[in-house]
Symmetry: C2
Subunit: 429 residues, 2 copies
């Protein structure tokens, strides 16, 4: 960001410009202004991924152990599946097992920008030692950030905006679904128990200093996000967003890149408002939507639910979408869940990108032309998941590769399409 | 419709009013005006299903054989799976095997309103006899309608609006993806080959007469619908919609119920325009969206693609959605595809209904409260597919049914939620 402010176009900016087919100077200006972030820790070499206004909407896949299911090999497999299915970034959010070892293993496996939530580590250590996150040491929160930064984490979700003001609004507002952000709950419970301000807010300058040192991107976390449709876009969330806006100003002054986390559970019609209010209060900072989940009633199908939310969010201007898997609200996702989640979210992002003019359906046109010619290989090539398209067709192959042998050369569809394409033919009177 | 015009509130209208929790007089007025249809052939007794403005968006599941895969037992299984998963209507669109026998079998199996596309039968007979649908007999088109009406079909997709004017606009417009409506292609090829007007347009009064006799609902078919994003909302489609509007006026005068079929393949941002122009040109007739499919690039995942389209369509005012399955564009759907298609479309319709104010997320609130209390049985009960939600959770059950044994009574989420719900506690200063 400092380079961009000085007018320098870095190799990363050039790479992003090329990938996105936009002007290098546009990237530089946007990075300088803070409307585009390119997360890349100084200690790591990752694929250049630009996140922000004017770029393709990016998709994040979250992996990580739970306290119950703690299998490093499965996490590696999930990371690989996310990469194979073209996630743009990974977040590693383990809370079970040897957190340092798992994080370093995944950092080795992936060349995608990787994110984390450092308060999970601080809280997990307090839980293991004293039985609860309310006993976290203030220093431990910053030590976790520093350790993970040193390891090379490229972007970190940090819960700086859960402060006294935010909690006051939460308390007065009330909640049908309670608080559901795990990091937000760690900080909130700690504050309520200890009756002091959030150290990550109070000592935000320290967070900025570490970010400067390792050049990671601060993903300002949304601790108040609704976990239920009934709680969407409430005063607690908007209060936190105001605080987030202020924190972004301070990070930008210090030359630190930021993105802002959003909800959560939002009904379809409130999505454009959520994007607009974030973009206004946070001066155009890249917006990272978690889903969103547009109805609470479809556990086992939340990847579809959030594909609807992703499409609408991207269309409205969101820049970055965290996937949701079919296991959401039910269990730790397995490898197949990761694949389903990445593909559903990529579909939503692609559809939304067409609506906001990032592309004009050039791939759709390729598919349409391939379909018209009954060219199956070209159809697979244009498909978001060629293998799955091929699998469905080849499981029940028609007798003739031309699909329908019903009418041979007298096929009505062929007759009409030939007539349509024949310039010498006119319409009869 | 005649009863409604005379001021009579029939048992069906009463049943629909009760199911939808709306006023009986509202239903009567809407049926009289043609903005709500209740498809029910005089020869059948079906569940009362109201389709139109002010009512819950309904979901259709299409089944039927192909020329390659022709297994009546599988079609019966598909019909049952559609019903189990709460489709509102069925369409039986077989083109392989003994069409009369299959139709009658499915009519016996289901108590849902059933639809058909009678020109498939006329065309299939011409193909079997003479090798192509271009040799169809004019009379055969009407005989198919009459035979299927007698059998009890409740709504029929009839391609009356593919006329000379429509074809002229199609020819001048051109198409990237060609014509993809099978019925539209049968009629268009027939017209181009024989160089005469579409009999279903020319003799539309005859269609109306048969509909009056059997009291089936005419689902005015969209022969020009785009089969590619590149062809969406083009002049051919809008020309046909103008003709459709005129045909609706004539049906309404004759006391015949109508619904209007829409596209097809439409990009997300064009959906509200499509709904608006249909509602205007067709004087508020119930709008039956086929999907829509909002990107061409995701074969194997078209149920997700059209769930996005369904949500946006229902939100914009569409009344009835035809499902799309994962097998779309690839193969004849099997039973699992039918289930996936119905559930994905129901999710989209539910999400859209919340946006247009048909419901206010009452079920979402039940789920949110059940989640807050970690009441798993209540969560399953509020889920769109309780069995699938249960399956995912029970495949990887946590050690303790309270999900997370990490912190016991010192769980941060519990601490915050107790503090939130405790009226005696205030925010510390």
């Amino acid at each position: 960001m400092d380079d961009a402010k000085k007018g320098i176009i870095t190799e990363q900016m050039k790479a992003v410009a090329k990938l996105e087919n936009v002007d290098e100077e546009f990237i530089r200006k946007s990075v300088a202004a803070g409307t585009i972030a390119i997360p890349n820790n100084v200690n790591r070499d990752v694929k250049p991924v630009g996140i922000g206004a004017g770029l393709r909407t990016k998709v994040n896949a979250t992996i990580g152990t739970s306290t119950d299911v703690n299998d490093v090999d499965m996490e590696v497999e999930k990371a690989k599946i996310a990469m194979e299915n073209k996630a743009d970034t990974l977040m590693e959010l383990s809370i079970g097992g040897d957190l340092d070892a798992i994080r370093r293993t995944i950092l080795d496996v992936t060349d995608l920008p990787m994110g984390s939530v450092p308060v999970y580590q601080a809280a997990t250590e307090a839980i293991n030692k004293d039985g609860s996150a309310i006993y976290m040491d203030e220093d431990a929160m910053f030590k976790a950030i520093e350790k993970q930064a040193k390891d090379g984490v490229d972007f970190m979700a940090i819960h700086c905006s859960v402060n006294k003001e935010t909690l006051r609004r939460l308390k007065r507002q009330g909640r049908e679904g309670g608080l559901v952000s795990r990091g937000g709950a760690f900080i909130s419970a700690w504050m309520v128990h200890n009756e002091v301000e959030n150290p990550l807010y109070k000592n935000y300058d320290k967070v900025i200093e570490i970010a400067q040192e390792y050049d990671f991107c601060i993903s300002l976390a949304n601790g108040m996000r609704a976990g239920a449709i009934a709680d969407s876009t409430d005063r607690a969330q908007i209060q936190e967003l105001i605080i987030l806006g202020e924190l972004i100003d301070r990070a930008r002054e210090a030359g630190v890149q930021t993105i802002v986390e959003g909800p959560g559970h939002i009904p379809l019609k409130e999505i454009p408002t959520n994007v607009m209010v974030q973009k206004k209060l946070c001066r155009g900072a890249p917006f990272y939507m978690l889903g969103p989940i547009v109805t609470d009633i479809a556990p086992a199908y939340d990847h579809i639910v959030s594909s609807i939310g992703a499409a609408q969010s991207a269309a409205a201007g969101a820049d970055f979408i965290c996937y949701v898997t079919p296991a959401e609200h039910l269990a730790l996702p397995g490898p197949q869940d990761v694949k389903d989640g990445v593909i559903a979210t990529r579909i939503g992002a692609y559809v939304g990108d067409m609506a906001k003019g990032i592309h004009n359906g050039e791939l759709d046109l390729k598919m349409a032309n391939a379909r018209k010619k009954l060219n199956w290989e070209a159809q697979y090539a244009a498909a978001i998941c060629p293998a799955d398209a091929r699998k469905i067709r080849e499981a029940k192959p028609p007798e003739d590769p031309d699909t329908c042998t019903m009418c041979g050369n007298y096929c009505s569809i062929k007759i009409v399409n030939e007539w349509l394409d024949d310039a010498s033919q006119d319409v009869f009177d």
